[in-house]
Symmetry: C2
DNA sequence: ATTAGCACTGTGAAAAAATGAGTGCTAGGA
DNA sequence: TCCTAGCACTCATTTTTTCACAGTGCTAAT
């Protein structure tokens, strides 16, 4: 258990280090704390003992350790109100009724990245609420056609398929069959439904049923329903802890290639909160912090994620995310 | 006019500098040239006089100037055959009949970037050959619906529109009107055709014609028909001439934001060749070279662009682009 | 025309020195 | 018992010095 003064010292060090990125010395603190630097030093030594602070070398000032940030986030951080300016800019986006849901989120991400110089990400998945509304087919020429899939929430996906030597009438019959039998099915159950309900009977109606069935099965099994949006990747370059090209490349690679399946081990579960993963707590890089929150809307469930250096403006990002989450969900 | 030996010297310096990125000294050259370093030095001095070479400081080796690269590209470069390996990898892509045109190009870009460590870009525009094939509408709920536009070449675009208090029958009538009257119109002429042929008569068929007309006009006027694909942006980081974060950011910004409208002043016009814009010859950055070529396919016209440092492997990139252009166009 | 020879130049790396911010520890005072 | 002034010490950083060397330009001889 920390004394009040220790908490104060830790907090000042964290905030100061976030601001200036330089190890914080005892002098800087004794002013605000109304005691001598020697006193502060002994407190700092105690905090170091506890693993909350670190030195970069024997006679340097202190830097928060991972554990230190964690303590700050859990116990010391005050959620300050968003600045009027931040607030205003965001409200403009959400008040704009012209914008569709997706554009709205995209705009917010852009704004977060611009305001904070961090990287922001949306990971959306069409929610279970999405059901098949209609499929339609446009024949292009003899052997290729476009299949268009629409869900009730307005997701649209299309795919070009090639079906040499198949009667267009057969295609139409298949489409009708699907539209009659599986419209209304949640998109994540369509593959099953095709397998169990269409496959057994399609032969009764259609000549080349094997080819056709496979083609359509393909269309649905690839229905992405994932919606990923990354903004401000190059902001990573702006922070001095990422001056190393190797490291930056590695991080960018992970952001792009992995599709961010497991940026974090989701220990905290799908709760309704804002989760913070500091350094080794996430799987991206031990020098970054990831702050994220889930959202649920009728159309889409997902996460809004902000990635930045460990010395991130935690309070600011948290309040931004809270605001956005709240506004998205209505 | 350069003597043969001067050409030889210039060529060696360009190639060597491309390979090692270090100023080239006279010793390195006199081996290959079978003459003394002193002789080479006087040739180098002559080339410097002509503005084809530069020194980084008084007693340094020589580096090609912009003009030097230009001379090399125009007069000295030999188009070497693609390496068997490069060739093979590319052929695998183009032989794969599974892949649609777009995926094919995307794959090639990826490969170029991977093989060369440069950034590659496709700027495509649906060609004039694209005509409207069909539009269709899926109503989602009372006041919003999805309009889907398909061209004969297989481009699909969809848009969510909100139309409160409009009779669904009216929507259908409008769709029929469009499908009857302007299917077959090149997409870049649709806006006009709507204005001159639909607008005057739509009132005869449909109640809320103004709202509806505007909504559909909107859909078509925003039909992007642009198709931009950038691969390997972060390769820029790999070249030592871009160690400066400011510069890298600036370049990346231009690549992203400007949509690359005017990477180059298209002085060379839309010819059928491979065009090279070295340093100040392009508008991106004075330290980069842009190599680009046009392509025309039934579906799409566009450019394939490669961006790299001035000391780019010109010959290799040119042969890659030639190969790709050729393969795309069939 | 070419080249060997030589003095000279600027870079870059390494070593040495100077600076200074910050520490830990101690001993005396509230 | 807690606080603080004082002091010696440490280490990163910056500046200065030194040194080797890669490369040049020029000249005089071939």
């Amino acid at each position: 258990m920390l004394t009040d003064r220790q908490k104060e010292v830790l907090k000042i060090i964290v905030l100061e280090y976030i601001k200036l990125a330089k190890p914080v010395g005892s002098n800087l603190i004794c002013d605000t704390l109304k005691c001598s630097s020697a006193t502060v030093r002994s407190e700092m030594a105690a905090l170091e003992e506890l693993g909350l602070l670190e030195k970069t070398h024997t006679s340097s000032g202190r830097v928060p350790s991972e554990k230190g940030y964690r303590y700050y986030v859990d116990n010391l951080m005050e959620l300050k109100k968003m600045s009027a300016e931040d607030m205003l800019k965001l409200q403009i986006i959400f008040r704009n009724n012209q914008l569709q849901f997706n554009d709205c989120v995209a705009e917010s991400l852009r704004l977060i990245s611009e305001m904070t110089n961090y990287t922001s990400i949306k990971l959306g998945t069409a929610s279970h609420n999405n059901t098949l509304k209609e499929i339609s087919v446009v024949p292009l020429n003899n052997d290729s056609l476009i299949v268009i899939v629409v869900t009730n929430m307005g997701y649209v996906e299309h795919k070009n398929i090639t079906l040499p030597n198949v009667d267009i009438e057969d295609v139409k019959k298949t489409v009708n069959l699907i539209n009659n039998m599986i419209v209304g099915t949640p998109i994540d159950e369509i593959s099953q439904k095709l397998e169990y309900e269409i496959k057994p009977i399609i032969g009764n109606y259609v000549e080349e049923h094997e080819k056709l069935y496979n083609a359509f099965y393909n269309v649905f099994s690839n229905f992405t329903s994932k919606n990923i949006d990354i903004v401000g990747k190059k902001n990573i370059l702006k922070h001095k802890e990422f001056d190393n090209i190797e490291k930056v490349s590695r991080i960018l690679d992970k952001l792009e290639d992995e599709n961010m399946v497991n940026l974090v081990d989701d220990i905290k579960g799908n709760n309704n909160d804002i989760n913070i993963y500091i350094g080794k707590e996430n799987n991206l890089d031990e020098d970054v912090t990831i702050i994220e929150t889930d959202y649920k809307t009728p159309q889409e469930d997902g996460k809004i994620v902000v990635v930045g250096p460990k010395r991130m403006e935690y309070d600011r990002v948290v309040s931004l995310l809270e605001f956005i989450k709240e506004n998205i969900e209505k």
